[in-house]
C-alpha cells in the first residue's frame, strides 16, 4: 500500500508538470495579446510595443515559463498583468462562490442519481424502469445552458421564488441570500450531472445484482430485492466513489458555463474573462490549479478505493 501510494504520488507530480508545460504552450497559440487590449483601437504600433516591453511580454518564452513555475514552487501563483492583483488571492475569493456551488451541485446530483438509479435497476424490464432510463438519457443530453434557462423561466420569471442571476454583494456575510442565489445554478448542474450519474448507478446496481455474494444471499432465503439492498448497494457505493472523480471534472466544466449564465463571480467566469483579455499569467495559474484539483481528487479516489475494497487490498 505504501509503495503504491508513493508510485501514485510521483505520477501525480509528473502529471502536473506535463500539464503545466501543455497549458503554457497552448495559451501562447492564442492570437492577440494583453498589450493590444490595454492600448485599444487608437494606439500606434510603437505605443503597443512600449507597453509590451513594460509588461515583460517580449521576454523569451522559456524565461517566462521558468519564472512562472519557479513562483508556483514557492507557492506564488503570480500577479495579473491587467489588475496587478495576486492570482492566489483572487482564486481564494472566487472559490468562495465556486466551491460551494460545486458541493451543492454534487449533493444534488447524488440525491437524484442514487435513489432513482437503484429504482431503475429494481424496476428493470418493467414500464417504470424503462421510463426512468429514457428520462435519464434525455436529461443527460440536455445542454446545461438550456436547462439553466428553463429553470430561470420557471423559478424566477413565473414563480419569482429565486433570484435569476448574480451573487449578493454582501457575500457569505448574508448566508441565506448567498445560498439562495446558488440554488438555481446548483440545481442546473446537479440535474444534468445527476442524470448521467443515475445511468451509472443503474448499471452498477444491475452488475452487483449478478455478483456471487448477492446470489448467495438470495439463496439463503432473502428476496432478490432485499439481497440486493443489503449486500449489493455497498458494492455500488464503491463504484460510485470511482466515478466521482470524473463527476468533479464534469462539475468544473459545468460551472464555467453556469457561472456565465447566472453571472456568478466564481472561478469559471474569471477564467473565461481572463482568456478574453489574454491575461495569460493568470489563466495558466488558474488552469493549473483546476487541473491539479482534478488530478488530486483522482489520486485520493484511487487510494480510497484500495483501502475500502477488500479484493483490491488482497491483490496488492
Amino acid at each position: 500500500m505504501i509503495r503504491y501510494t508513493l508510485v501514485r504520488g510521483v505520477l501525480l507530480i509528473a502529471g502536473l508538470l506535463v500539464s503545466s508545460a501543455l497549458i503554457f504552450l497552448t495559451l501562447r497559440v492564442f492570437p492577440g495579446d494583453v498589450a493590444q487590449l490595454i492600448a485599444g483601437t487608437q494606439a500606434s504600433p510603437s505605443e503597443v510595443d512600449a507597453l509590451r516591453e513594460a509588461l515583460g511580454l517580449n521576454r523569451p518564452l522559456l524565461a517566462q515559463y521558468t519564472d512562472w513555475i519557479g513562483g508556483i514552487f514557492r507557492g506564488d501563483l503570480g500577479t495579473s498583468l491587467l489588475s496587478g492583483a495576486s492570482v492566489g488571492e483572487e482564486l481564494l475569493l472566487k472559490a468562495q462562490v465556486t466551491v460551494p456551488l460545486g458541493i451543492m451541485s454534487l449533493v444534488i446530483a447524488i440525491l437524484i442519481a442514487v435513489p432513482f438509479g437503484i429504482l431503475a435497476a429494481l424496476l428493470r424490464g418493467r414500464r417504470g424502469g424503462t421510463a426512468l432510463s429514457i428520462g435519464a438519457q434525455a436529461l443527460a443530453a440536455v445542454p446545461v445552458v438550456w436547462a439553466g434557462m428553463m429553470l430561470v423561466v420557471v423559478f424566477s420569471v413565473w414563480l419569482g421564488w429565486l433570484p435569476p442571476q448574480g451573487f449578493p454583494r454582501t457575500g457569505w456575510s448574508t448566508p441565506g441570500r448567498a445560498i439562495e442565489s446558488l440554488l438555481l445554478p446548483a440545481l442546473t448542474i446537479g440535474i444534468v450531472e445527476g442524470a448521467m450519474l443515475m445511468r451509472f448507478v443503474r448499471s452498477a446496481t444491475l452488475q452487483a445484482a449478478g455478483q456471487d455474494f448477492v446470489r448467495t444471499a438470495a439463496a439463503k432465503g432473502l428476496t432478490r430485492t432485499r439481497a440486493l439492498i443489503q449486500h449489493g448497494i455497498p458494492a455500488v457505493g464503491l463504484s460510485i466513489i470511482t466515478v466521482l472523480g470524473l463527476q468533479v471534472a464534469g462539475i468544473i466544466v459545468g460551472s464555467v458555463v453556469i457561472e456565465q449564465l447566472f453571472t456568478l463571480p466564481g472561478i469559471g467566469r474569471m477564467l473565461v474573462a481572463d482568456v478574453g483579455t489574454r491575461d495569460l499569467v493568470k489563466v495558466q495559474s488558474e488552469l493549473l490549479v483546476l487541473t491539479g484539483f482534478v488530478l488530486v481528487v483522482g489520486f485520493l479516489v484511487d487510494l480510497l478505493h484500495r483501502t475500502i475494497d477488500p479484493r483490491q487490498r488482497e491483490a496488492a
Binding site: 493590444q36 487590449l37 487608437q42 494606439a43 505605443e47 513594460a54 424566477s156 458555463v257 463571480p265 467566469r269
Partner: protein, 506 residues
C-alpha cells in the same frame, strides 16, 4: 460558415420563445422621469452595466468601461464634457486661450483636495500632464505631442503652451489625459484610487460589482446619493432579468430586442440616448478588389441601412465619418442610397460579378448585423463569409496586421476623424487632400471655421467609400421611477452621477 456563440444562441432562443414584441418607438424621451417622492440623501443607487473594466488604472488602460464610471465621479480634469459633448470647466473655474491658439491659461477652483486629504495645487496638474507628455505608455501621450511646456505661475494657475495650435487639445483634456493625479502618489492605481471627485471607491469585487460612496469633503456640490453600486452583468438577458427582479434601479446598454420586456413591466422608463458610436463596416482599401472604389461604392449601395437599423433595434443612419455629436457633422445621405441595381452595375463594370468576401467580426457583436449583410450582399451577387472571432484576435489580425477583407466594430471614441487622415490606420485609406484638410482643421483657432474644414473633409471621405457607416449607435437606458437625473446621452463614455437622486420608496 457562420459560427454562433453560445450566449447569442441563448439570447435568440429567449427572444424566439418570447412573445413577438414591437420595436421601441423612435422618439426620444425629452422630459426626465418625474420623481415619485422626496430624494433620500442616504440612498444607494444600483446601476446595471455590461462591460466591466479590466483594472482601474485609467492612466494606462484604454476603454470606455473605465472612463464611463471613473471620470467626473472619482477623478477630475481641468475641464470636462457635457452629455452633448460640449466642453466646460471642472477643476478649472475658468480658462483662456490666446489669440494664436498656442497658450492656455487655467485658473483652479478653491478648496480642491485629493481623497487622502492632501490639497490640490497647480503643481499636481503640472506633474500629471508632464507624465502624459513624456511617458509613451500613458493614455493620451500621442495627443500631447504638440505640448511644448506645462507650468505653474502660481498655486492656482496652470499654463500650457503648444508648439502649434490644436483645435482638439481642450477636448483631449476632457479625457483620461487631462485627469489630475497627486504628485508623487504611491497609490496602486490598478486597484485603488486617489482622485478629487465627488465619490470615493469603496470596493471592487472583480467580476461582479464596483461600489462608490459619497465624498463628504468634496470641494463642490455633494452628490445626491450616498452610495452607488455598479453591477456588471455581461449577459443581456440576465441584465433584463435582474432589472425585472428589482436588483438594479437603472440598467444601461439595454439590448433593443429585449427593451419591450422592461417597458411592458411598467417598472421602468426607457430613454434613448445619442452616442458617438459609429458602427463601422471597414473595407480593406489596400487589398484587391476593395482597392477599387467602384467595388466599395457597390457594397455601400447594396446595404439597406433602414432595414438594418430596424433589425438592430436602435440607431440612426449615418453616411459619413462624423456623428451628430461631434464638430463637423453634416447630413451626407445624398452621397449614397440603397440601390442594389446600381450596385450590380458597378460590380459588373469592375469585373467583379462573382465576388466572395470574408467579414471579420468580434463575437460579442452578435449575429444580427452579419445576417443582414449576408442577405443584402447576396442580392447583388456578393457571397459573404462571416468569421466571428474573439476581440483580441480581431486586434491582432485586423487592427495590427491589416489582414482582412471586411471588418465590423463599433468605433465609440468621440472626434476620431483622424483615423481617416492616418494612412497607416487599419482602413488603409490614404487621401492627401483629406490629410491636409484635417491638419488645417486642427490648426484652425476658430472652432466654427475648424468644424467647416472637418465637414469638407468628411464629405470627401464619404465619397471615397473607404468604409460604410452602418449606423450611429443609440443607447437605451431603463430607469426606475424612483431615480431622477440619470444622464441619457453619451453614457457609454460618461456616467456623471453628481445630479442623480433616488427617492425613498413608499
Amino acid at each position: 460558415m457562420f459560427r454562433r456563440t453560445r450566449r447569442l444562441a441563448l439570447i435568440s432562443a429567449l427572444a424566439a420563445t418570447a412573445v413577438v414584441l414591437s420595436a421601441c418607438s423612435g422618439t426620444r424621451e425629452q422630459e426626465p422621469s418625474a420623481p415619485t417622492g422626496t430624494p433620500d440623501p442616504d440612498a444607494t443607487l444600483n446601476v446595471g452595466l455590461v462591460l466591466e473594466p479590466t483594472n482601474l488604472d485609467i492612466r494606462h488602460t484604454s476603454g470606455a468601461a473605465l472612463e464611463q464610471i471613473l471620470i467626473d465621479n472619482i477623478y477630475e480634469g481641468l475641464v470636462t464634457r457635457t452629455q452633448q459633448n460640449e466642453i466646460e470647466g471642472r477643476l478649472a473655474s475658468d480658462y483662456e486661450v490666446s489669440e494664436d491658439g498656442l497658450t492656455y491659461i487655467f485658473t483652479l477652483n478653491e478648496g480642491i483636495a485629493f481623497h487622502d486629504g492632501t490639497a490640490l495645487t497647480s503643481a499636481d496638474v503640472v506633474a500629471s500632464y508632464e507624465t502624459v507628455r513624456t511617458d509613451a505608455t500613458v493614455q493620451g501621450n500621442a495627443e500631447f505631442a504638440s505640448v511644448a511646456s506645462v507650468s505653474a505661475p502660481d498655486a492656482t494657475t496652470v499654463q500650457i503652451v503648444l508648439t502649434a495650435p490644436n483645435q482638439n487639445f481642450l477636448f483631449v483634456l476632457t479625457g483620461p489625459a487631462g485627469l489630475v493625479f497627486k504628485k508623487g502618489d504611491t497609490t496602486d492605481l490598478k486597484s485603488a484610487e486617489n482622485g478629487t471627485g465627488p465619490f470615493t471607491l469603496t470596493r471592487w469585487n472583480k467580476g461582479s460589482s464596483i461600489t462608490f460612496a459619497r465624498n463628504d469633503t468634496y470641494w463642490g456640490e455633494p452628490t445626491g446619493v450616498a452610495e452607488v453600486a455598479f453591477q456588471y452583468i455581461p449577459d443581456f438577458t440576465a441584465g433584463v432579468n435582474a432589472a425585472l427582479a428589482g436588483d438594479v434601479d437603472v440598467l444601461t446598454a439595454v439590448d433593443p430586442n429585449l427593451a419591450p420586456q422592461l417597458e411592458d413591466s411598467g417598472d421602468f422608463t426607457l430613454t434613448k440616448g445619442r452616442t458617438t458610436d459609429k458602427a463601422t463596416l471597414a473595407f480593406n482599401n489596400k487589398k484587391a478588389p476593395l482597392d477599387d472604389v467602384r467595388v466599395r461604392e457597390a457594397l455601400r449601395l447594396a446595404i439597406d441601412h433602414d432595414a438594418l437599423i430596424e433589425a438592430v433595434g436602435a440607431g440612426t443612419p449615418l453616411y459619413g465619418p462624423i456623428p451628430e455629436l461631434d464638430p463637423g457633422y453634416e447630413d451626407l445621405s445624398d452621397v449614397v442610397s440603397y440601390d442594389p441595381v446600381k450596385a450590380e452595375e458597378l460590380l459588373a463594370e469592375a469585373g467583379q460579378e462573382d465576388l466572395e468576401l470574408t467579414l471579420t467580426i468580434p463575437s460579442f457583436y452578435g449575429t444580427t448585423v452579419p445576417k443582414v449583410l449576408i442577405s443584402d450582399f447576396k442580392e447583388v451577387g456578393v457571397a459573404l463569409e462571416v468569421d466571428s472571432v474573439e476581440f483580441p484576435s480581431w486586434l491582432e489580425d485586423v487592427y495590427t496586421n491589416k489582414d482582412y477583407d471586411l471588418s465590423f466594430v463599433l468605433h465609440v471614441e468621440p472626434r476620431d476623424f483622424g483615423n481617416f487622415a492616418d494612412p497607416d490606420y487599419y482602413f488603409g485609406y490614404d487621401n492627401a487632400e483629406v490629410q491636409e484638410l484635417y491638419a488645417q482643421a486642427q490648426a484652425e483657432v476658430d472652432p466654427d471655421a475648424s468644424a467647416e474644414l472637418l465637414a469638407e473633409a468628411a464629405r470627401i471621405v464619404s465619397e471615397d467609400h473607404p468604409v460604410d457607416w452602418l449606423y450611429n449607435g443609440e443607447t437605451i437606458t431603463a430607469v426606475s421611477p424612483v431615480v431622477s437625473g440619470f444622464p441619457e446621452d453619451s453614457i457609454n463614455s460618461r456616467i456623471n452621477l453628481a445630479g442623480v437622486t433616488v427617492s425613498a420608496e413608499n
